[in-house]
Symmetry: C2
Amino acid sequence: MMAQQRMNEFLEKLSSGAPVPGGGGASAYTAAVGMALGSMVANLTTGKKKYAQYQEELESLLEDAAKLTQELAGFMDKDAEAFEPLSRAYGLPKGTPEEAAEREKVMEKALAAASEAPLALMEKILESMKMLDRLSIIGSSLAISDAGVGIQMAKAALNSASLNVFINTKLMKDRAKAEEMNFRADRMLTEGNTMADRVYETVLGRIC
Amino acid sequence: MMAQQRMNEFLEKLSSGAPVPGGGGASAYTAAVGMALGSMVANLTTGKKKYAQYQEELESLLEDAAKLTQELAGFMDKDAEAFEPLSRAYGLPKGTPEEAAEREKVMEKALAAASEAPLALMEKILESMKMLDRLSIIGSSLAISDAGVGIQMAKAALNSASLNVFINTKLMKDRAKAEEMNFRADRMLTEGNTMADRVYETVLGRIC
């Protein structure tokens, strides 16, 4: 598991020219950091008299957020797995027409898989945003800046993941399938960016 | 050093109710991830014939980006160091008027220090954005999505760090000093967000 490595090791590998980890792994980890900050807010709110009316909801949020943080971090591995076949496909020979045709077939499949992974990550990030949205309202005001940081991380991860969709769909020959994937990404971007900006305004309103 | 810990350990500590690491440490690491992606772009561009005209500049960018990535990651420790005195100040007794006055004096100093740390981080993030800006133009188109992810990370880190300024200056009694700090943060937010959005558009333009 990639999340087992040290934080400075990850920075070093990211900095290198190796294809993995790259923007995909960075997006996944940043999304996990955002959700972990949601857990922090919930942990600083749960059990407090002032927020007793939300106790049951907080407990359920704590459970869901812990699970989602793990899932998001797991996408670092999923991204790497989805990227490897693409990396191999780029290396296939294309000297003869048969080789070129075979390479194109393999590439097309690899590109679709490398686009599906960030799309699935985007769906999970939207889930984390919904939790951060709720926590920005019911979370303790002592921890509210952490909810604001959390939603910034989630937003950056969402936009970053979309780039990994677009850069792969761009090269697909099956334009109908590529456009369908782009459409899914665009729809999630619109939903997520609107939600993130609203949550951030809520947080700013509670701080300033 | 905080960056020595494992990535999943960091997520666990972040999720907990412990005051550190929190939004400050998360901002610092995310900024380091953004700059590391800048190094990745430079590493995938350097030595390539197509970009030979930028070779000298790329080498200098590689050196600067590696240094800055380390500095940004180091802000995880600086943030924790700046936050500890504040955490202790909150715990001081305030039963007698003397105790209350002493507590207020200690708090005021701790709040200023806890606001200076994210301000210094914001300055470093602006430096990283300038490098990502340049890399989004001279970087290999094969790695351009990583420049886009990098600038998203830097932008999220910048906005997140500003929240850690505002939440602390809000409680300062010396309003002139507080407003001066808020002004510095606002100015950097304007500069950084404008730059980040422009860089992201450049990247999207090169992808789509």
